[in-house]
Each structure stands twice: as C-alpha cells, then as structure tokens.
C-alpha cells in the first residue's frame, strides 16, 4: 500500500541534515554573517508596557516634551559624548562593510545627533568626515590603530568581546581582504584574517585599569572611555568594568550580529540581550554606580519597543548594528539573481562573509558597492533612527514619563513565566498580591455566591 503522508523527522530536521552535509564538504565549521537564527530565545517581545490610566497621567503626545538626550562622561571628561537620542550605531568595521556604507551611517548619525563607531580595522577618513560623533574602537587586533586617530575620536571603546561570539576573535575571510582592507590592517591581501581574542598588552581587570589610565592620558582626559563586553558572565564583568573606571559599559547580547562567525558559536554562546541588560543593571545598582556609569545594550534591537523596554530594564542607550544595515538596504528585494547566485534570497541572506553582498553593503567589490548610494542610504537610516526615537517616546509618554530614560521596570509586565523569572518583572495579572482573594474565603456572602455558582 502506498503511503500518502511523508513524515519528516523532528530529530533529523532538514536544517540538521543540510548542516551535516555542508560540513562534510567544508571540512570545518560553517562560517556566516549576521546573528543567531534561533527562534527560542527569550526576548523583549515577552514584555509589555503598562501605560498610564487613572493611577498615573499620560503625557500629551502632541504638546508635551519627552526628552531623549543622554550624555556619556558628564562631569568626568572635558568633551562628554552628547547623544540627542539614546541610540548609537554599533561598531562595524571598514572591511566588514565598505566606505559607502560607512559614509551613509555617518551622515545619518550626524543628522540625528547620535554616534557611529569605527569597528575593527581603523578609522576610515570618509567615516571621520561624515560622522560628527565617532567612537573609536580599540580591539585586540589593533588593526589601523594610531595615536592621531585616537586623538581625533569623540569617545574610545575598549572592546573585550562581542555578543555574536564572546570569547573568540574576529574573522574576515580572504575574499573580503581587498588591497585597501589589507593595507589598513597591515595584512597580506586575500588572507583569511583571524583576529586574536585577547588584547596584546593586558590580560585581566587589574591590567585593564592601567590600560584605561593609558588611554585617558593619551587622549588628555578629553573624551569618554567605554568598555564593550559580549554578554556572558555579565554580572561579574559589569562590576569589573565599573571598577576599572569606564564612563560607559556596553553589553552586547547574544543576538548581536557579525560579519563572519562560526555558526555554531552564534547559536550556542552568550546570554540573550533581555537577560543581559537585567544582570548588568543589577550589578551597577549593587555597587551604587548606576547613575554615574552609562549602560549601553546591544544585540538584536530592532524597533522602539525593544529599545524602550531595554531602557526600562536599566539601559541608558541602545546599540544598533544589524538593523542599521537593514535600513541601508540589507536583505532588500533587489538584484534577485545575485541573491540566488549566493544560494539565498532576500530576507534570508546572511552571506556577508562571502564579500558578494547583492546590495553593495558588505562587500569591497567596486561594482557591487556602486549599488549603494551613500546619500540615498543615509536618508533611509535617518528615517529609521527617527522612527525608533518616536516609538520610544510613544511608550514613555503613554507611561506618563517626560524622559525616555525615566522608563523603569514598574512600567512593564511579563507575558511569560520565563520572562518574569529572568527580568523580575511581574507576570501580567500579578501586579498585586490580590488581597481581595482572601475576602472570598472569609466573606460568607461571597461564599454563598460562589456555592450558588458552583451549583
């Protein structure tokens, strides 16, 4: 008898079969761009806001101010970093993305009063020119590092690790190491670049304290110094970063993106962003430095709801990387043949590691780059940043807050038990201890009603 139902194994899913077969060809783990594709991680979607009603008055959306400004390093350095809205463009290297993408991000960030970040690989002059506020990353690789660029930066970020792959160094496959990238990084062109995961000149937190002093001396205490850590042992790491005197601590959650990482690591290392923010905020509260040190959270932030919830849980600023690329045109339904040639399609592309980005962002190929007009792309990113700002303000105003940064955990409820356990935010319906339940037990009238109902 012919069977008319094909049962696919849940154990040996099509994805698992494909993964095994690809590895049996590659002879190594799979490397790809973008973030983990896991769908089972706790997320900000498991939380909702509890807007004002009678017990609290909302702000008038059309009339009343809702501030968005955040200042990093205020009272500590000569030129604090002023952000007009609590968003920063996350570090993405010249190399991972090209000069057109860098320029577009810089223009958009300048227009919206936020910062961009060099990423690994040095400060590209186009990026410096386009970005009014530029964060200079100091990474283990030290690619492109020089004291002149250091002194040109508006903030310094010492990168300990990144959320996509905490505990390992960067990867840039040979197809993306063009002549220009190789020159900026002092590498042979076409080499598979593997960055170290430890800094060359410090090992633990005590050394890092001396390193912080070095950077402050080299920049004459002009600009803030931040420390970025991939979310792993968040609670302890945050305290140590605070101890060494960071003006801001960046915690990069496991949903953070990457230009190229081992896929197995993307899926199986790190702490989801929603959990990371809670741990980090708790650590800073505990040592009494929550106000003094700004907490920046990155990893999968895609809209104003994610951003506002992260802020309510204790972040001061959100870092956005992948979504900025999407605003630039990443995964847009254009040049379909080129997506197909990579074995993918729009909305499923993670092929940054190939250097053949169909929309001209994650590539150094000049023909492909020509597809990304920096000025048009800047308009899109600007619109995107503005839309997130407005979305954050919607939540703040509806919760009766005149500052986005005044959102707090009491403005939230959890939708799931897991989320409630992770965040400490009460699950919906459990905002109070329901003392009136006791009344049901004690009140003979209600007992009566109940017993009648039961009949």
């Amino acid at each position: 008898m012919e069977r008319d139902i094909i049962r696919k194994s849940k154990v040996w899913s099509p994805e698992k079969i494909e993964e095994i077969q690809e590895k049996s060809d590659l002879g190594r783990y799979r490397i790809r761009g973008q973030a983990t594709k896991r769908a089972d991680l706790p997320s900000f979607d498991d939380l909702v806001f509890t807007p004002a009603g009678l017990s609290r008055v909302p702000l008038e959306g059309y009339r009343e101010r809702c501030d968005t400004e955040v200042i990093i390093g205020e009272g500590k350095v000569k030129r604090p970093l002023v952000l007009d809205t609590p968003i920063m463009v996350a570090g993405m290297s010249f190399g991972a993305i090209n000069a057109h993408a860098k320029e577009a991000l810089g223009i958009a960030a300048t227009r919206t009063g936020i910062s961009t970040c060099t990423g690994d690989g040095g400060m590209h002059p186009v990026e410096r020119e386009a970005s009014e506020k530029l964060v200079y990353q100091l990474l283990p690789s030290r690619y492109g590092l020089n004291p002149y660029d250091l002194q040109k930066a508006d903030a310094i970020e010492i990168v300990v690790s990144q959320g996509a792959k905490p505990g390992t160094g960067g990867t840039l496959l040979g197809q993306k190491v063009s002549e220009e990238v190789a020159h900026m990084r002092d590498l042979p062109p076409g080499v598979d670049q593997r960055s170290p995961c430890r800094h060359p000149d410090w090992m633990g937190p005590d050394d890092l304290g001396v390193k912080m002093e070095q950077i402050r001396e080299a920049t004459n205490y002009e600009v803030p110094v931040m420390i970025k850590i991939g979310a792993g042992r968040v609670y302890d790491d945050t305290k140590l970063a605070a101890k060494v005197g960071a003006d801001a601590i960046v915690i990069d959650g496991m949903e953070g993106g990457t230009a190229a990482s081992p896929e197995i690591q993307l899926d199986h290392t790190g702490i989801p962003t929603v959990a990371a923010v809670v741990e980090a905020a708790e650590a800073l509260h505990e040592i009494g430095l929550k106000k003094e040190i700004k907490l920046i959270i990155g990893g999968g932030i895609s809209n104003g709801a994610d951003a506002a919830k992260a802020i309510a849980l204790g972040a001061d600023v959100v870092y956005i990387g992948s979504a900025m690329l999407i605003a630039l045109n990443c995964n847009k339904s254009l040049y379909l043949e080129d997506y197909k040639a990579l074995g993918t399609e729009p909305a499923a592309c993670h092929h940054c590691h190939t250097g053949k980005c169909p929309v001209g962002i994650a590539t150094q190929d000049t023909d492909l780059m020509a597809r990304l007009d920096p000025f048009e792309a800047a308009d899109r990113v600007e619109n995107y940043i503005n839309s997130i700002t407005m979305e954050m303000q919607i939540f703040a105003r509806s919760c009766g807050k005149s500052k986005v940064n005044a959102l707090d955990p009491t403005d939230l409820r959890s939708l799931t038990l897991t989320s409630s356990l992770i965040t400490g935010v009460p699950i919906v319906g459990m905002g109070h201890h329901k003392p009136h339940y006791a009344d049901y037990e004690s009140s003979s009238v209600e007992q009566n009603v109940l017993s009648q109902l039961l009949v």
Partner: protein
Amino acid sequence: MESIKEKVIIDCETTSLKQINQKIRDAVKDKVPEVIIENPWASHNLGVGITESIHIIYKGDVGYYALSLCDKVTAKVEGNAGWAIGENLMDGEIIVEGNTASACGASLRGGTIAVKGSSGARAGIGMKGGELIIGGNAGYMTGFMMQKGRMIICGNTGKALGDSMYNGTIYVGGEIEELGNGTEIVDLPPAEYNMIKDRVETYGITAPPSFKKVVCNGRLHNFNKKEFGIWKEIL
C-alpha cells in the same frame, strides 16, 4: 627672541602622573629637545601619546605602557621596563638598558625598540612594522600573530615562537624551544646576517655567530581542509 630651554627635568616623586605627561607635552610644544624623568620608580604610563620629536631619558625602571602610542620619540630607559613598553610606536627609537616584562613592543608599527637584556612573554605580539631587538632571551609566544617588521633575538626563545604570524621576520641567535604554528626556518644569506649583526651592534649588543631566520610558511593564510592537523590548533 626667547631662547629654547635645553632640557626639562621631571621628578616623579613630587609630580603626579597627569602633571608628568602634561609637562612632557608642554616640553614638546616648547620644542625642548630633552626631558629627563627622575625617580620613575616603575610607575605606569610615563610618556604616552606623544606625537612630536623629543628625547626622553628615564633615570630608572618604568612600569606599564611607557612610551606607548607615540610617534617620532627617542628615549632611553636606564633600568627595566614593565609591560608593553613602546606599544604601538609609530616611529622613533627606544633603548632599554635592562630587561622588559611581557608584551614589549606590542603592535609596534615603526621605529626601533632595542632591549639590551631579556624580554618576557609575547614580545612583539601583533607587530605591524618596525624593528624589535632583544639582546637576551625572549619568552612564550614571542611574535604571536606578527604581521610585518623585523624582530632580532640574540638569545633563546620560549615556546610558540611566531605562532600564527602573517608576515614579518624573526631572527633568533640562540635556541628555539618550539616554533609556533604556521612558521618555518629558512636560509639566512651572509649579507642578511651582516645586516642583522650591524643592527644589533649599533646598540652595543654582541651579535651571536649565527641566526636562524623564522618566517611565515603561508600555510595558515587560507583554510585548507587537507591540512586539518594544522588548522585544528587555529580555528
């Protein structure tokens, strides 16, 4: 016309770090040719981020990051140096009379660092150019991930020498405890030996009678599944 001071003397015993570095910056601005740092007592971050010509003499030991993130500076340390002396030096010359701790010349980009004594672990780690000369021995992972430049070690080296180097050359006068991944020893032509000998002797260091020349063998430049045995240590 105002005359230029010949030298500035800074006593670390009576001056804070901020003031020391500010005085060095002021001396640079005033075009003073020489700064003398007295009683450094192995303090950290003495003379960082200087990007104009000046000569600095340290009258004793220095701590972490002395002369780091600098350009065009020449200096002499009349003692030992802590971690990462000359880190990321762009150009200039640093002479250390004694020994150095770990990460001497980390991410060196240009100029010369000459250490008359020995050096701890990870000397010349991530070097991107320039020249690092060590009169004595060098420790574990010396030249790790070296990218460019020249390292001359007159004595012995520890394990993992030049591990994962992309490029550059390491000359070793003594014994190599273990070569790092992706490296090999190649022939040293006599003219090259003479050049190395000259460089070493410039700093008053006696050159050994021969050097081994260690370079990148290129086998880690691009992944090759047929050579899994090597890549297993790397990826």
